[in-house]
Symmetry: C2
Subunit: 423 residues, 2 copies
């Protein structure tokens, strides 16, 4: 398995495009995207567990229920959530506009929306632009599509891999947005995955659900689970492998590739949290089961106090223990140890952030051992915590299970971004 370029258009048969149509009047960047497969795809999706669901999410769940889809239309600038009957009509209109220009069924269109909640979406702007959006579909178009779904994101997030299944080269691509209102529960803010692998929609869904639990669902930026979280995957089968319809070696290879993408995307979303200056990775080991390990790790990276401490490069590990204590998951404080770890020059470099190996010397510093604070070097701790990617390694000695969660620091910039998002 290897990482390749190309995002959602890396797999055979997929094209994409994006453009600015000013869903939000003040917008100056792309805000409408279209992704198209020349063949009808098997499809699966996972969606927000928020009781309040965007109209786009409701429609997409309906459209994908038969395990088939062929296109994705996505907008930023308006979430089409809490918009009542009119919002439902707008979501259906978006699907039929895309279907008409593509010459496909509107029931095979996935609709994504992201942006402000509780405002009606000006669908006439999409109507005016849909033909030129369609006319611009291309292999290079992933570059236009990936920015069209961004809101407060500072980097686009895309990723693609290829692997070999049954002698055939198979590719999987993805693009996502993140940033704010991220405390993922069953999908992500918005993520589209594509693959040319031949695989049944049931096996696609199995792979997605298993992978999401340890990747997207282990990310928290601010504890707010969005109304719009959606992750869907379209498989057009054009790689020519024998269709994967059950567990086995082929499924394992596909799963490994899919999970590698999802892990990278989870880190990209966490590292580009609203206002974030640092990616925080919390690794819990020695927990009694995987759910506990992930739950404890997620509590740590979700704590406002822990996040603010990391922002200030303050080795205030007591806040991690406090968060673990109220998480509702079981552990023994008196057997717990905590180590900080970072690598020199773990710089954030544009959209390729946090992929691959870190450069520079790794430093680790134990601050708490078997329930007792250690008399550590605070100057060294400060240095370790000033890097852009911080690992918090927590050893529990209650069992053998491990889990990882990703988050970011809490900064002035987060407050600024969310204190006046509309203006």
């Amino acid at each position: 398995m290897q990482f390749i370029d190309g995002g959602v258009t890396a797999p055979k048969g997929f094209t994409a495009n994006g453009m600015l149509c000013k869903i939000k009047e003040s917008s100056t960047k792309n805000d409408l995207a279209l992704i198209f497969s020349e063949k009808l795809c098997n499809a699966a999706g996972v969606f927000t567990q928020n009781k309040v669901k965007a109209e786009s999410v409701k429609l997409t769940k309906e459209n994908i229920a038969n395990g088939k889809a062929q296109a994705v239309i996505a907008n930023s600038g308006n979430a089409n959530a809490c918009t009542g009957e009119q919002g439902a009509k707008v979501a259906r209109k978006m699907a039929s506009l895309a279907a008409d220009v593509l010459g496909i069924n509107s029931g095979d269109v996935i609709v994504y929306s992201t942006g402000v909640i509780g405002k009606q979406l000006p669908v006439e702007k999409i109507e005016k632009n849909i033909q030129s959006l369609k006319d611009g579909l291309s292999k290079e178009g992933h570059k236009e599509a990936r920015t069209a779904i961004m809101t407060t994101d500072t980097h686009y997030k895309e990723c693609a891999v290829q692997t070999v299944i049954g002698g055939k080269t198979v590719r999987i691509g993805a693009m996502a947005k993140g940033s704010g209102m991220i405390h993922i529960n069953m999908g992500t803010m918005l993520s589209v995955m594509t693959t040319d692998c031949a695989i049944s929609s049931q096996m696609l869904e199995n792979a997605l659900r298993k992978s999401v639990a340890g990747t997207y669902n282990c990310v928290s930026i601010d504890g707010d689970t969005s109304t719009n979280d959606s992750l869907t995957i379209l498989a057009n089968g054009m790689a020519g492998n024998d269709e994967i319809t059950c567990e086995g070696e082929d499924f394992e290879i596909f799963y490994e590739a899919l999970n590698a993408i999802n892990t990278q995307m989870a880190k990209k979303i966490a590292g580009d949290g609203e206002g974030a200056t640092k990616l925080i990775e919390c690794n819990v080991s020695g927990a009694k089961d995987v759910e506990t390990a992930r739950g404890l790790a997620k509590a740590v990276i979700s704590s406002s106090l822990a996040k603010a401490a990391i922002f200030g490069s303050d080795a205030n590990f007591g806040r991690f223990l406090c968060a673990m204590g109220y998480s509702g998951f079981d552990f023994s404080p008196e057997k717990t140890s905590i180590t900080f770890e970072s690598a020199e020059n773990s710089m954030r470099t544009g959209a390729t952030d946090f992929i691959g190996e870190q450069k520079g010397k790794r430093t680790s510093l134990k601050v708490f051992e078997n329930g007792v604070p250690l008399d550590f070097d605070e100057a060294l701790a400060k240095k370790v915590l000033q890097e852009a990617e911080i690992k918090i390694n927590i050893e529990c000695k209650d069992g053998t299970a491990c889990g990882t969660a990703w988050g970011c620091d809490l900064t002035y910039e987060y407050v600024k971004i969310n204190g006046d998002y509309r203006t």
Copy 2:
């Protein structure tokens, strides 16, 4: 029932004192407090549900288990949490130091600690100062004690009421600290209540548990449930009323007075959250039961995004609906309405913040009705949201139950305070 001056020393037979003993070397304000009743008291307490409990909390739970107590020793500057066996010794030493100078049993001493987690508490500083702390006990001493438990609080929090039970005047007083790591679950950061009412420890505990559920436990500053939350009440019986040992009219009067204090203290803690510029009160009505109403209200005031929006005076009510949606509590988005309300000149004026009636004209503005966003006046919304006390009134139409929760906005200052608490 009426509000009176005097805090914890308002009831008969109670004296208090506070002083600076530099638990944290850099401290310049009082950090050690003592409260004493000349008679042994019936006592009850509620404590943090965090699995990680401070050593002071563990000892206090043990000491109060017999329903009796006579004194409280409290320090700020160090939480004595995650400090292992040495921390347990320190807590016991604090109790015995207080007991020795007061001439009482160390098992009748309540110990409170608050401050940084995971550092050993320098108990020798308490030992050096305990005699002069005791010598200064007085009726006026509540003024020294109330500041000694503050950490990042900008105002002290105290309150007292008097009422008449069985022909006798009965008083209840309280002091508390709040500010950060506040997402109360079963007590508050630190709160001491005193009363001269004659009441059994069982009935004290009943009153406390019932009141806490709708007051302290409905406050959130940052979603972090502290390791040190403790609320205890000491009743010395010196008012001379017939002891309250069962439900009935006397208990109701006592409960009403106790609950009035707890409501005020909850608002004081929320309004003085770390970095807060505004008190947010969320009132949910028409819910199917009280637990649901409180759960929905607490989700709204706990959301980082909702809090940041209020900081920016942004009427982004979609974030409230989003928070209600992931709260785990039931409601029907399509039947929900939301109104903002504030009063002109709802100024924060020192320690008496938010007590009594607001001055100025009340303005209310409906922004969402029966699941549909209204086309409201954004300039007026901005004006309403610029006041220092904001009410968010949410109508559910699922039943008749009501619930209220209190919180504060998320500001640059919160990040600053917690990004480098130690320095």
